[in-house]
């Protein structure tokens, strides 16, 4: 079964390079440029992604605001989130966000694959 990843990041090159890498590995990838777009995609889409890669610093609804909205809706709150950021977060902030993991930018491909595998135990086979 193909796993789907939603990448939320305001930098188009980051979206593209992450997408390329993930698609290489057999994932399907959706993209959103900020929290608001991501919420729209989630609410409108029929199928939900298996994991969300979330950047924190974005205009027009940042990572914190998105997470807060996501947690309000039970349907959406179940989706695990991997925080993907250039800044390291203080411990209490990370706890508040209740993320499945924290990935520091810039990330190597191998590490990205590892992280996704740990959150989604069954790897997709293409």
């Amino acid at each position: 079964m193909t796993r789907t990843v939603l990448i939320v990041d305001d930098d188009p090159d980051v979206r593209t390079s992450i997408s390329d890498a993930l698609e290489e590995e057999g994932y399907r990838v959706h993209r959103a440029a900020n929290g608001r777009e991501a919420l729209r995609l989630l609410r409108e889409g029929a199928a939900l992604p298996d994991v969300i890669l979330l950047d924190m610093m974005m205009p027009d609804m940042d990572g914190w605001a998105f997470r807060s909205e996501q947690q309000k809706e039970p349907r959406l709150s179940r989706i695990p989130v991997l925080i993907f950021s250039a800044y390291s977060l203080p411990i209490d902030a990370a706890t508040q966000l209740d993320a499945a993991g924290f990935l520091k930018k810039p990330i190597r491909m191998a590490e990205l694959y590892r992280a996704l595998r740990s959150v989604l135990p069954e790897k997709a086979t293409s």
Binding site: D11, D13, V14, T16, S17, I18, D20, A21, E24, M57, A86, Y87, P90, I91, K105, P106, I107, R108, M109, A110, L112
Partner: protein, 683 residues
């Protein structure tokens, strides 16, 4: 000496019959005869040993000495009247006798009545003379004392009656208080005391204490005739007559105004300086200093500050009467820009101090301050002031003004000196505060910039590294085996990774120096961590041709920030490879005494002795900039990490034979490690 009231007489007569008769007659008359001798020598002896009340001396005597000579000797040593007995007195004898100031003559032959009269007169005259002499001496002593007291200039010495009214006065009292003798006699001493003291019955208490305990001592402010104040230290003594009745009081006072004012000024300077040093918030310290000045140095103190453009920034106002403070504040608005000829505006414009009234100007010849609010000025009743510009190294910061209302104090040179000193210190404090603020701002701006810059620098790295990785994968999937192509890709990846490390270092430094460096403590096996890192550096070690030898036994479990400890080891290892000249690198770790000792040894070029400490400084490298690349931050960060854990890192080296880096860490850093490291801003 008279015993039992009878007068004692010594008879000096060589003719025995007369002597015997004298003795008899005098005894019958009621006198006591202490002796009867025939010669001058014996007369002298007897006179000195018996000390009679009268010596009855015959002029002609046995032996060489006559009565006159004997009398001379006796008079030289004793105060005893001598009456001469003589049968015959020629002029010469009489002349000689007169010199000895006899108290009488008895001519032979004598009768009883004559004898008695002569003796009585002699005794009386002597007594009378003695009393006169005593009185004269007493009068002389009193005169001398009075002259002495009068002459004393710097002590007020005077007497009061039992009610405390002034009875005598001296030059010192006049000089100190301004009151002349005529003006003060009969007035109560309470006129010198301030109203609060009078209300509290202080003068009465002083007198009462003196009356009951003998004396009382006091210190305080008193008023002169012209209304100005002086500080005295005085002693009041109660005077009693012979029967123990209170007769009055004597008071001695010393004018210590100068010392007191000097002490007050010094105390003000000390306290105000402490206030200036206590805080870098200028507003607070100015207000504190203004309050300190009141009421000791001023009745009304104003400190006005301006910014670099001359616009008013801070104004601190303190008034001895809190109710008048609001009024006082209205007076200063715009004062520095006023075109007045006197006052703060003038001091600011000319940068010269001003004291009013000037010492050479008697009285108030003009309005003390030209003000835009003359009614307020009048209501405040300013009598004297000093305005001093506050400046530092050519920069004008404002004006400090001390003002007095009421006649009690007048400003003079010493007050100006205090004001100028205080203004100087204020200028300095303002400069310090400004520099501190600027430094803080610069550091904050720099840290903010570093943060933003690091983030911005990392942004292109994300897609860059990702693309290189996927490119590599695509190439291998496409079956490309070209060593050339693959190695080019590898190098691009390596450089991107290096760039990433450099940016991370910059970010770390920014975090450290802005105090946002936080340790995340977890429990892990130190030996395990070493092996992980060594594995990661395998390719780098191969490139440097350095064999890595790990000397660790068993497990070393403890609590540290794993990522950060790995950072230390990584840094030490990459340095070892860089400077190791391809020789082996040893890593050892040992636990003991609740500490872990990590040692990284290389056998390469080594480090010069004077560089051994410097290498841990920021941006410092042991070798010249051209050779070995890097930002020079690695060891600085390594030391910060070690110290944040409560440990240390030191370097030892033998130039030419290699270096040894020793890291000491508490085994349970998590238990007490500082959660935050303060880099530059250690307090």
């Amino acid at each position: 000496m008279t015993t039992n009231g009878r007068k004692r007489i010594l008879i000096v007569e060589d003719q025995q019959l007369i002597a015997a008769d004298l003795e008899n007659t005098l005894a019958n008359l009621g006198y006591e005869i202490v002796g009867s001798v025939p010669s001058g020598e014996e007369a002298i002896q007897m006179a000195f040993s018996t000390k009679p009340d009268l010596v009855l001396m015959d002029i002609q005597l046995q032996g060489e000495m006559d009565g006159i000579q004997a009398a001379r000797v006796i008079n030289g040593g004793l105060d005893v009247p001598i009456a001469y007995l003589t049968a015959y007195a020629d002029d010469e004898t009489l002349a000689r006798a007169k010199i000895t100031t006899p108290f009488g003559y008895v001519l032979k032959p004598y009768d009883e009545r004559e004898l008695r009269a002569a003796v009585e007169i002699a005794l009386y005259k002597h007594e009378h003379d003695r009393r006169l002499a005593e009185e004269r001496a007493a009068r002389k002593a009193a005169e001398e004392f009075r002259a002495l007291v009068e002459a004393v200039q710097d002590h007020a010495i005077y007497r009061m009656d039992t009610e405390g009214r002034v009875m005598t006065w001296n030059a010192g009292a006049e000089r100190i208080t301004g009151y002349s003798t005529d003006e003060i006699i009969g007035k109560p001493i309470s006129i010198f005391y301030p109203a609060e003291d009078r209300a509290a019955k202080v003068p009465e208490t002083e007198l009462k204490t003196a009356a009951t305990e003998g004396r009382s001592v006091s210190e305080g402010w008193r008023f002169k005739k012209d209304g100005s104040v002086f500080w005295v230290s005085s002693t009041t003594t109660a005077l009693f007559d012979d029967s123990g009745q209170l007769r009055g009081f004597a008071k001695v006072s010393r004018d210590l105004t100068q010392q007191k004012q000097h002490e007050d000024r010094q105390a003000f300077l000390d306290e105000a300086t402490a206030a200036l040093a206590s805080s870098l918030d200028i507003s607070t310290t100015m207000q504190r200093a203004a309050r300190l000045a009141v009421p000791v140095i001023a009745d009304y103190c104003v400190i006005q500050l301006v910014d670099v453009h001359g616009r008013s920034t801070e104004t601190a106002v303190a008034h001895v009467d809190a109710k008048k403070e609001a009024l006082a504040r209205t007076l200063v608005v715009g004062a520095l820009t006023s075109s007045a000829l006197h006052g703060p505006g003038q001091a600011f414009r000319s940068q010269r101090s001003e004291v009013f009234p000037e010492p050479t100007v008697p009285g108030l010849a003009r309005e003390p301050l030209d003000a835009e609010h003359p009614e307020a000025l009048r209501e405040l009743g300013i009598v004297s002031y000093t305005c001093v510009p506050i400046r530092y190294s050519g920069r004008r910061h404002g004006v400090l003004s001390f003002l007095r209302t009421g006649p009690a104090h007048r400003y003079g040179q010493p007050d100006l000196a205090v004001a100028e000193e205080f203004a100087r210190r204020t200028g300095l404090a303002i400069e310090n505060a400004r520099l501190y603020r600027e430094a803080h701002e610069a550091i904050r701006a720099r840290d903010e910039f570093l943060q933003i810059a690091s983030h911005e620098l990392k942004t292109p790295l994300t897609p860059l590294q990702m693309q290189l990785d996927t490119l590599g994968r695509a190439l291998s999937k496409a079956g490309v085996q070209s060593e050339r192509l693959l190695s080019k890709l590898e190098m691009a990846s390596r450089q991107a990774a290096r760039l990433n490390r450099l940016v991370e270092s910059l970010l770390d430094v920014a975090r450290i120096t802005s105090g946002r460096f936080v340790l995340e403590i977890e429990e892990f096996d130190f030996a395990d961590m070493i092996r992980d890192v060594v594995e990661r550096f395998r390719s780098e070690a191969k490139k440097a041709h350095c064999d890595v030898i790990v000397q660790v036994e068993g497990e070393i479990v403890g609590k540290w920030d794993r990522l950060r400890i790995e950072q230390i080891l990584s840094n030490l290892l990459s340095n070892a490879f860089k400077y190791g000249e391809g020789k082996p690198v040893e890593i050892s770790a040992r636990a003991g005494d609740d500490m872990v000792r990590l040692v990284v040894t290389d056998h390469g070029i080594g480090i010069e002795k004077d560089a051994l400490e410097r290498i841990f400084d920021r941006f410092e490298r042991a070798v010249s900039m051209r050779h070995y690349g890097g930002l020079g931050l690695g060891l600085f960060i390594a030391r910060q990490i070690a110290e944040a854990h409560g440990g240390s890192i030191v370097a030892q080296s033998q130039p030419g034979s290699g270096s040894v880096f020793t890291v000491l860490l508490p085994q349970q850093s998590g238990d007490w490690a500082q959660p935050e490291v303060r880099g530059e801003e250690r307090h």
